[in-house]
């Protein structure tokens, strides 16, 4: 009988999905997220079979901070994704169980409804899959997923799953779904930049200059620009959402020394060294920077883009053709910003810090 009710329930999304034009966000027990309009549409990226509900969010939050999801009960998702660091861990590369080091830096988790192809290399299309991977990954939490289910049953999670999904059954898919619900609700939209966009505050001259430089592609002799906004798009400051267009080679290494990046997913040589352009929201608190955490400060990052670019076969065209001075094809690739301009861009980057996000009690450890 129970399974019949389940199968009836599982057909419900069909009814809603009939007319995609009129997707109804009205969900029983819905968790309100209210992102600003200038973030753009997002409904299509909330799967019909996994709307954000209050109980789903609550379960996701509990699981996010659940150390039982690691092999030795030592770490949770929240260990490498700490709220006060905009859900990063302050380390170049993250440390899993038994001190095992990964290869990449923990990515900040915010505004995930406006991105796809998760992780630095675009390995996971669905947030649900991405959420499950660190649990089983040997250099992260290293817990086989079937054991995760058993451990959660022992911990008395069945009631939480019943509230979130309508039955007591704990499944791997449901763990991923609940984690995805929690993470989709992690919206950062009250930084000083947002307040400026909404006309609530004035920006300082340095911030304004930095903002203009950030979003401007330079034209020698005509327009000064820091060339950031070509990849960190719009008010979200994150990469293009379509396919892998938001993945770029930003000149960290030469052909000989670079990591494979997106090529490890697509197998295409032209994708070598391309990594996801992350959101820059709360960037001032997410040091160190880049996929391998090689830069300790925003100053080092600016110096890299200004005068540290290494040319290669896959270096992004928008970086090659981005300079404030006329350059020939055989010249080194340099942005030619002044020290003051670099400082102003950094002033703008500090505007992206959202204290209310970093301190929102709804996102904190509930255990």
């Amino acid at each position: 009988m129970k399974s019949r009710i389940l199968s009836l329930l599982s057909l419900f999304p069909l009814l809603i999905a009939c007319n995609p034009e009129e997707y109804s966000p009205v969900v029983k027990d819905g968790y309100e997220i209210n992102p600003p309009v200038y973030f753009g549409d997002y409904q299509e990226r909330i799967p019909n079979d996994n709307p954000i509900t209050k109980n789903g969010f609550a379960l996701g939050r509990k699981l996010f901070y659940e150390t039982a999801l690691s092999a030795d009960n030592s770490i949770s998702c929240g260990t490498c994704h700490q709220q006060e660091l905009a859900f990063t861990d302050g380390k170049a590369v993250s440390e899993g169980v038994e001190g095992k080091l990964g290869k990449v830096s923990a990515m900040s988790l915010s505004n995930l409804l406006w991105t796809e192809n998760f992780t630095w290399t675009g390995k996971f299309n669905r947030l649900t899959d991405q959420s499950l991977d660190p649990i089983k990954n040997p250099v992260e939490m290293h817990l086989p997923l079937e054991q995760a289910v058993e451990k959660l049953e022992e911990q008395g999670y069945a009631t939480d799953f019943q509230k979130a999904f309508g039955s007591y059954e704990i499944t791997v898919e449901r763990i991923g779904k609940a984690l995805a619900q929690f993470q989709r609700a992690l919206i950062s939209s009250d930084s000083r930049y947002d307040q400026y966009l909404r006309g609530e505050i004035q920006a300082s001259p340095a911030e304004l200059n930095g903002m203009n430089l950030f979003f401007t592609h330079p034209i020698p002799g005509q327009l000064r620009g820091a060339n950031c906004g070509d990849c960190h798009l719009g008010p979200l400051t994150s990469g293009d959402i379509d396919e892998f267009q938001g993945f770029h080679n930003n000149g960290l290494d030469t052909d000989e020394t670079m990591d494979s990046g997106l090529m490890s997913v697509t197998g295409k040589p032209e994708d070598k060294g391309r990594f996801k352009a992350p959101t820059l929201r709360n960037i001032a608190v997410t040091a160190p920077y880049m996929h391998d955490g090689r830069f300790k400060t925003l100053k080092e990052v600016m110096d890299h883009y200004n005068s540290g670019i290494k040319n290669s076969k896959t270096l992004d065209i928008l970086i090659i053709e981005g300079s404030n001075e006329p350059v020939g094809v055989h010249d080194e690739i340099r942005l030619h910003l002044t020290e003051k301009e670099k400082e102003d861009v950094i002033a703008f980057l500090h505007m992206l810090t959202d204290e209310s996000f970093l301190n929102n009690p709804k996102f904190s450890n509930p255990h």
């Binding site: 753009g40 906004g229 719009g234 959402i241 379509d242 065209i317």
Partner: protein, 239 residues
């Protein structure tokens, strides 16, 4: 088992749409060409101005679509008419579908390339004007109306980009084309519009792509805009 089949059946019948049968549909189908042939992307090299080049992406906004009758009177104006057309090696999004149209003779169509000044500097846009897409610059500059990126192969071992980001209110251009077609009840009519990439660099302003491999605002962007207003689009006889 029976119950679930029943629900499934219900859900299928509820999907029937209720389109009015006395209305028609028009699809404006764009096709990007280079030198008269279907545009090909990375992997295919073209030659012009003594250099080889390849295209990675071409995107442009078509907006404010209107129909006119033979006297030049506007007989249809699409509301919220903003369409981002884009083509890459793996993506082709080049059709505008207009539905629920009155049955009528359409003598010509009018549309603009770019975003009108009112919308261009607005913060609250969604859909194809979503400010988080790659076409938004910032609040001071509005949208990129046309974006084309690629690479020039000038000599072995060097890399040189082609980057054309054309925007700015002065480069918003309106184009009128004769179509002489009819919207028919319960039928879809298609108009095919060809967009010739080389005409962006051809007339009235000849632009050497090797010398002007980057244009984003300024004089060269305006020249490209005057070129796209002039001869970027051509119409095939509709069926």
């Amino acid at each position: 088992m029976y119950a679930s089949t029943l629900v499934l059946a219900l859900s299928v019948t509820s999907c029937n749409d209720t389109k009015e049968l006395d209305k028609g549909t028009l699809i404006i189908q764009f096709e990007n060409l280079l030198d008269g042939e279907a545009l090909k992307f990375e992997g295919t090299r073209y030659n012009r101005d003594q250099v080889d080049f390849q295209i990675a992406v071409l995107k442009y906004y078509i907006s404010n679509v209107k129909f006119l009758d033979e006297t030049g009177q506007v007989i249809y104006t699409e509301e919220e008419s903003y369409h981002l057309l884009e083509e890459t090696a793996s993506r082709k999004d080049l059709a505008i579908e207009l539905t629920e149209l009155e049955v009528q003779e359409v003598s010509s169509i009018e549309f603009s390339i770019g975003i009108d000044p009112e919308k261009n500097l607005s913060l609250d846009n969604t859909g194809d004007l979503d400010p988080s897409n790659e076409m938004a610059w910032n609040w001071d500059t509005g949208y990129k109306f046309l974006l084309m990126e690629g690479e020039i192969f000038e000599s072995e071992g060097t890399r040189k980009g082609m980057v054309y980001h054309i925007g700015g209110n002065e480069n918003y251009k309106t184009i009128k084309k004769e179509v002489n077609t009819k919207i028919k009840a319960g039928t879809t009519t298609t108009i095919e519009i060809k967009a010739e990439v080389l005409s962006l660099f051809d007339a009235p302003h000849y632009i050497n792509i090797n010398e002007v491999n980057v244009a984003m605002g300024g004089e060269n962007a305006s020249k490209i805009a005057e070129n796209y207003a002039n001869n970027f689009f051509s119409i095939n006889t509709p069926n």
